[in-house]
Symmetry: C2
Subunit: 223 residues, 2 copies
């Protein structure tokens, strides 16, 4: 019977979490009412506080679970035997699609980061999530498919930064997933391949002439 009891408690916690996810998503953090969450989870208001200390901790739990699920999904979305580039492509696609699908929760994430004192913390589950990228990239470096001369965190920031901004752009424009974003990002990542080093003859090239001309033009239009 001790086991059934534990299951009941976990089911209740899950019900509260599910209700909270829905209400936060629909109404935003400020719009969400603890009473509404309790009602949907079919518990009394006070009961919610037995499982989560306050509204902010509940929010954190919702966000935490979201990123945990995302990590699982990302791992599942990646073909195990595939090339590094292929895996990066898969991860980028999965990530962009998820950001678009669950835009609401992603927005709410920034809210969970702010623990109303000061330092915008790093949420543990997001840390876990970015490891998926790191692992692929590290393998690429080990295989000499990518060069090691750029710090991995900088490459990671390009990857996730670009995808997050692109997702926002797409959502705000009511466009959905756009494969060209992924293609573009993958093309950028060509830069990190070790091969393309031999192409700078260090002579004057036409663009430098154009820059000089442009400077002259600018000065002329000022006077």
């Amino acid at each position: 019977m001790a086991d059934t009891q534990r299951q009941r408690l976990e089911a209740r916690e899950e019900a509260i979490l599910a209700a909270a996810t829905a209400v936060f998503g629909e109404s935003g953090v400020d719009g969400a009412r603890m009473a509404e969450i309790a009602r949907r989870a079919d518990v009394a208001e006070g009961t919610v506080y037995l499982y989560y200390k306050n509204k902010h901790e509940l929010l954190e739990a919702v966000v935490d679970r979201f990123w945990r699920e995302l990590t699982k999904g990302a791992i599942a979305a990646i073909s195990e035997g595939a090339s590094v580039s292929q895996q990066l492509h898969e991860l980028a696609s999965y990530h962009l699609q998820s950001l678009i699908d669950d835009f609401k929760i992603v927005e709410i994430t920034s809210r969970a980061r702010m623990r109303h004192g000061e330092p915008g913390r790093q949420l543990p589950q997001i840390r876990e999530y970015v490891r998926v990228f790191d692992a692929i990239m590290q393998r690429g470096i080990d295989l000499r498919e990518f060069s090691a001369d750029t710090a991995i965190w900088q490459i990671r920031d390009v990857f996730y930064g670009t995808l997050e901004h692109s997702a926002r752009t797409l959502v705000l424009r009511d466009q959905g997933f756009d494969p060209s974003v992924i293609d573009h990002l993958m093309r950028l990542f060509e830069q990190y391949r070790p091969s393309s080093q031999a192409d700078n003859p260090s002579g004057l090239d036409a663009s430098e002439i154009m820059q000089a001309l442009s400077r002259i033009e600018t000065k002329l239009s000022q006077s």
Copy 2:
């Protein structure tokens, strides 16, 4: 005297805005108390509501002003006659430095975006701010220094997305401005230069140079 009166009102509004900026920055949006803001602005609590309808509108005003100032600063930070690459470098440095310096307000920005109903709106002043980037990039494309085969919004998302993520990384690690982030980003942007074929990396031909010279000749004969 009508003029002094208007000045007094504007000074009051400014005092409230300044107090709000400080308190939001120190305590976060939820931690900020309207009473505290009023106290620091040296007005009664009710007075704040004569200038701003509610806490959220006050927040929006704070964020709005921040990005307006940032736009001014960005424009000032860019050397007018410089090359497109040089200007991009300057803008990137200015942006990264600002994100780090005013990390708190930047974080709060996402909060102003959420008008607690549904759609994460685009704030007008941010729209204005990104135009600085767009203008430089457009000039680069016009000058054939950059190719036009990638949509400018995608390039913009790489630019700002990368810088924002990098800023967060640096702040969370208690590191300050890191020039290598800028160098790295600028190296990435090499990708946008027109076809890197060995003989003519810029994709320019002599006729374009002659056209530019001709424009200059025309201007010279006008003056």
